[in-house]
């Protein structure tokens, strides 16, 4: 019997990984909501399968299309965070900032939001007022208006307090075409600030793990920051906000869509000490932890310095940094060089380290 060599085994695995994933689960599990492999398989096998059309296919955070002479961006997001109120914000802040950001990362100027609420019977109206006040304030800061909405109430036990859906429309005034498929070897990968603040804040706020810290969610609208970036680096290829699944997920989506390698430098990635400490205790990697006010951008290599300089001039981007580069080999993979001189693969997230963080 011929023994397969290690090389043959590794190559076979690569071929299998490139195949379209099939969904074998019969029921939804929490992994399907983590933003990782299971989520992507679900989207591909169930939603894309049914809805397939050219605008949906790229599976960016927003759809971009023309209406008359205008290019518009359109997006939606649903917020199910638990707990509803946490250090640094609440579900209302996420609902506005998250959707604003999904528009802003396409280069659009966010204009109008809708807000749909699913409320559980027995939910305190005082809490609803707090959430709505946060949304009003966040909308004001982000320069958007909430122009339409809906409310439904379900019986006690059928929704965890309050779920919010927001959809948003923005207009593309810049001639940019940002896309996950546009990265080229030689490009630089930038992050706008420290990673993992939001996810860890939520995890700790649940109180189950008994860990305390002074961390706050980083939820914030990124429109201004992205504008600064695009002014300083007009050849920017791609911008995406790092929500569930974290920086690692975005880099994987990027590597696959562009058919390139993303090589990150562990030492360059900004992480707050509390995030690192909590992650060490829990045995999770900050690269997979959600943010709500950070973006990852791919810029042309020769525009990287200008880009970081522009970001750092803004309070939200004070710790922006180049964290890696794009290479041509090995295509579709994300690698990270460790301080120790080793290199390891950062795969798409499997399972769910932190359920219901946004």
């Amino acid at each position: 019997m011929t023994q397969r060599t290690e090389q043959e085994v590794l190559e076979r695995i690569e071929r299998i990984r490139r195949r379209r994933p099939r969904i074998t689960d019969e029921r939804i599990t929490l992994s399907h909501g983590s933003g990782g492999k299971a989520t992507h398989t679900l989207i591909d096998a169930v939603f894309l399968e049914a809805f397939r059309n050219p605008l949906l296919e790229p599976l960016e955070d927003q759809a971009v299309f023309s209406v008359g002479a205008e290019r518009l961006a359109f997006t939606t997001d649903t917020y199910v965070v638990s707990p509803l109120f946490f250090p640094g914000g609440d579900i209302g802040d996420l609902a506005v900032n998250g959707t604003v950001n999904d528009l802003a990362v396409s280069g659009a100027r966010p204009l109008y939001l809708s807000a749909g609420f699913v409320l559980e019977e027995g939910f305190p109206i005082a809490d609803l007022r707090r959430i709505v006040a946060s949304m009003a304030k966040a909308a004001g800061s982000a320069g958007v208006q909430i122009v339409t909405g809906d409310t439904k109430v379900v019986q006690r036990g059928k929704a965890d307090g309050c779920f919010v859906n927001t959809a948003g429309i923005g207009v593309l005034e810049r001639p940019v075409r940002l896309s996950a498929g546009a990265a080229r070897p030689g490009d630089a990968v930038i992050v706008s600030g420290p990673v993992g603040d939001h996810g860890i804040t939520i995890m700790l706020a649940r109180g189950e793990l008994g860990i305390e810290s002074d961390l706050r969610s980083d939820t914030a609208p990124l429109t201004e920051l992205i504008s600064l970036l695009l002014d300083a680096a007009p050849q920017t290829r791609f911008v995406r906000d790092a929500t569930r699944g974290g920086v690692a997920t975005i880099c994987n989506e990027l590597a696959l869509a562009s058919g390139v390698a993303v090589i990150l430098d562990e030492q360059s990635i900004p992480v707050r000490p509390e995030v690192r400490g909590a992650s060490e205790i829990l045995g999770i990697d900050p690269l997979y932890v959600a943010c709500e006010g950070r973006f990852v951008a791919v810029v042309a290599g020769d525009e990287a310095e200008a880009a970081v300089g522009a970001l750092r001039s803004h309070p939200q981007g004070a710790e922006a940094a180049v964290i890696g580069r794009i290479a041509d080999d090995p295509p579709g993979l994300v690698l990270v060089t460790t301080g120790f001189g080793g290199m390891r693969i950062i795969d798409m997230l499997v399972g769910d380290p932190l359920p219901r963080i946004c």
Binding site: E212, P273, E274, A278, I281
Partner: protein, 90 residues
């Protein structure tokens, strides 16, 4: 699962003897220190924590011994490299 990490004792819990607040880079957790109490635990001590319990105190002297040994090894290596580069005959 062998996940044991070093943390610094911040305070001993007066109300609940045997419990302490331990800090890991800014993340703080209540840790049971009853397994190492006999050695005496005080704020400022470093301990090894595993699933909410302190299993051992970190001996700072021994840590220094290990580091010094590694440092010496590092120095010897750097000396060697230096000697090597100096000895090149052009």
């Amino acid at each position: 699962m062998c996940l044991g990490i070093p943390g610094e004792v911040l305070t001993l819990d007066v109300e609940r003897p045997g419990m302490a607040t331990v800090n890991v880079g800014g993340a703080r957790r209540q840790v049971n220190v009853m397994l190492i109490e006999e050695d005496g635990v005080a704020p400022g001590d470093w301990v090894l924590i595993h699933v909410g319990f302190a299993l051992a105190k970190i001996d700072e002297e021994e840590a220094q011994v290990t580091l010094s040994y590694l440092e010496e090894m590092g120095q010897a290596y750097r000396d060697e490299l230096h000697a090597l580069s100096e000895s090149r005959i052009d």
